[in-house]
């Protein structure tokens, strides 16, 4: 037995294993191909475009080198949009997490309308953004919106507020609608995790003398930590590049007060017809997002380890 085994060189892969390896490559090839077409090519194209000055309708233009990037670094547009994007992301994400965790905790209790409430809470997430925005635009409307009407009847304001046409109301408005639209994702993820926390841990904590608040901080929250990290990272990435909700609600206005980076890229490419400059902005945006991505990959790796 040992004599036969030592005759085979150590580096040689057994034939069967080689065949499996070939089959493996064959099986993942279609995915790699599609991935290259829809992700790698556009990415490289964007980087390529960003060193040209291109007029969008004709896609004609000349090489400008780093000019577009110099404009990005020295001009106000990119930095203003980055600031707006960060305010929007942090604001809406904070609200989503707070409301999401709170509601998940509530729905985890044994309340009689639990199953109905669990389905209803998903409603904003299922609703098409266009429909949701239309409804909210009506609610926000300064002439006949229900929001102003309600606030006036409660005596909080004397005059109707211009919700989407002035600052900081417009930013508050988009943050609120964003939170309303996306918090169900947080509810679902947190609720799923809550259900896996062993009841015994709470019982042990009760016997150890922990009250409800101590049980939340000593049992629930540590158990939610990993899922919350992933949710925060994912939602941060998604909120950071959110387009349709903001575009439909304010279009980036008033002026550029709610113009996030996604809206800036769009405006540059199709409003000002500067595809090259837009590509440079989008590369800049991608670099910022790379930070989130690295954090996310690190987090998932940590979990698998």
């Amino acid at each position: 037995m040992t004599a036969i085994a030592t005759n085979i060189p150590k580096s040689a892969t057994p034939p069967l294993e080689r065949a499996y390896a070939r089959l493996g490559v064959l099986l993942i090839a279609p995915t790699i191909l599609v991935f290259s077409l829809v992700i790698v090519y556009p990415l490289l194209a964007a980087i390529y475009l960003s060193v040209f000055s291109i007029y969008t309708p004709t896609l004609q233009g000349g090489f400008v080198g780093a000019d577009n990037y110099i404009e990005l670094l020295t001009g106000k547009a990119f930095w203003n949009s980055l600031k707006v994007t960060l305010i929007w992301t942090v604001g809406t994400l904070t609200l989503q997490i707070v409301a999401g965790v709170g509601l998940a905790l509530l729905l985890h209790q044994n309340i009689w309308f639990r199953s109905l409430a669990r389905s209803l809470v998903l409603f904003p997430y299922f609703l098409s953004t266009v429909v949701a925005v239309l409804v909210w635009k009506w609610l926000f409307n300064d002439l006949y919106g229900a929001l102003n009407q309600g606030l006036m009847q409660l005596g909080i304001i004397d005059m109707p507020l211009d919700w989407l046409g002035s600052m900081p109301n417009a930013m508050i408005g988009v943050i609120l609608v964003g939170a309303w639209k996306f918090f169900p994702f947080v509810v679902i993820a947190v609720l799923a995790r809550l259900q896996t926390i062993p009841e015994n841990l709470y019982e042990a904590a009760r016997i150890d003398g922990a009250g409800p608040i101590a049980r939340f901080f000593d049992v629930t929250l540590p158990q939610l930590r990993s899922v919350l990290t992933v949710i925060i990272l994912l939602r941060a990435i998604w909120d950071f590049k959110e387009f349709d909700l903001l575009y439909l609600l304010t279009g980036g206005g008033p002026v550029t007060s709610t113009q996030t980076l996604s809206l800036l890229v769009y405006q540059e490419a199709f409003g000002l017809n500067q595809m090259g400059q837009a590509a440079a902005y989008s590369v800049g945006m991608m670099l910022v997002m790379l930070v989130f991505m690295v954090l996310y990959i690190r987090q998932t790796k940590e979990k698998n380890a």
Binding site: P198, N200, L201, E203, A204, A205, R206, I207, D208, G209, A210, A214, D218, V219, P222, Q223, R225
Partner: protein, 369 residues
């Protein structure tokens, strides 16, 4: 004083009755096992004592204090769970120290208590580890450490050894006996494993269908089972139960007569249907005189052989013989029962035992109302 008393405790979940009229007096410092098959109400009993479930009616006392309305943390008890229920994000030291932390014990006092508990359970080198870095046996010891760190009046243990492998289990059994001896605290131990109950407990409450069937010493439970359930639950294999009838000085099974001593049984024993109980080790397998039987199976475990025998009425019983004894399957044999080891039970489903014992009061010493 930390005796534990259940006074007429009743527990129902909706229409399902988990416990009926439970009366238990557990003495201070006693090690009591609640033993029974799953669904018998033993865990419910323990959880009510812990304050995790609430009795539908009746009173639970720890010492002289009625604890029905007391939160679990205020009952001066500690509990070890089957799953250990260690806080996964805390180190071993933090886990053990947690009950003290929640009671406002800080700094050195807490550290010293944790060290003391860790020393008792040989956990010192593991204090900085997280639970998931520990083996099952180590996690078990951490759970014990968390229970004993604040020196509670009563320890509650819910099948603490059932997640361990056989070898570790017998080791931990010895450890627990030793721990109980050293601490001298009241312990209530829930298990479905009769070996654990028999070896560790000073008294065992055998439970079935929400009722305590017998509450007595392991010796009494084994030798004087109160009824057919206890007889059939304790022992591996359990006591044989042969259906037949009492007729004068004999017990008749399928036309064959087994002589019995009527004076060994209660006066109320009448001729008619009854169940004869005999332990596998009280059966002699011979030829000639005796109850005829056929050998159906012989299982040699190394130090003994368990023989399955078929009686003339086709019921089967088990006998225990020495390992060297060779018995061929299909052979006809004659069985003789040790007269002193014969039990008689009422012929009902869970018939009471009809033997007259020297100490009859030890059987179901439940509180008189």
């Amino acid at each position: 004083m930390a005796n534990v008393t259940f006074r007429n405790v009743h527990k129902a979940f909706g229409t399902y009755v988990a416990l009926e009229n439970l009366d238990l007096d557990i003495r201070d410092g006693e090690f009591v096992a609640l033993l029974g098959p799953s669904g018998c109400g033993k865990s419910t009993t323990l959880r009510m004592l812990a304050g995790l479930d609430f009795p539908t009616r009746g009173e639970i006392l720890i010492g002289d204090r009625v604890v029905n309305d007391l939160a679990p943390g205020k009952r001066d008890i500690a509990m070890v769970f089957q799953s250990y229920a260690l806080y996964p994000h805390m180190t071993v030291g933090e886990n053990i120290g947690y009950p003290l932390k929640k009671r406002g014990i800080k700094g050195r006092a807490r550290e010293e208590a944790v060290q003391k508990a860790a020393a008792l359970l040989q956990l010192e080198p593991l204090l900085d580890r997280k639970p998931k870095q520990l083996s099952g046996g180590q996690q078990q010891r951490v759970a014990l450490g968390r229970a004993l760190v604040r020196e509670p009046q009563v320890f509650l243990l819910d099948e603490p050894l059932s997640n361990l492998d056989a070898k570790l289990r017998s080791y931990m059994r010895a450890e627990l006996i030793e721990l109980h001896r050293r601490l001298g605290k009241t312990m209530v131990y829930v298990t479905h494993d009769q070996l654990e109950a028999m070896t560790m407990a000073s008294r065992i409450a055998v439970m079935h269908a929400g009722l305590v069937q017998q509450f007595d010493t392991p010796d009494a439970i084994y030798n004087r089972p109160a009824n057919r359930f206890v007889a059939g639950f304790i022992g591996t294999p359990p006591m044989n139960q042969i259906e037949g009838a009492v007729d004068g000085g004999d017990f008749v099974v399928a036309g064959h007569r087994i002589p019995i001593d009527r004076t060994a049984f209660v006066d109320s024993l009448r001729d008619g249907p009854a169940v004869l109980g005999v332990r596998p080790e009280a059966i002699t397998i011979a030829t000639g005189e005796g109850l005829p039987a056929t050998v159906r199976l012989a299982e040699n475990t190394g130090h003994e052989t368990i023989v399955t025998l078929e009686l003339p009425d086709h019921s089967r019983i088990a006998a225990r013989v020495e390992a060297a004894r060779r018995l061929d399957v299909g052979h006809n044999v004659a069985l003789r029962f040790d007269p002193a080891a014969i039990h008689l039970f009422e012929a009902t489903e869970n018939g009471a035992r009809l033997n007259r014992d020297e100490t009859p009061a030890s059987v179901i010493p439940m509180r008189s109302k």
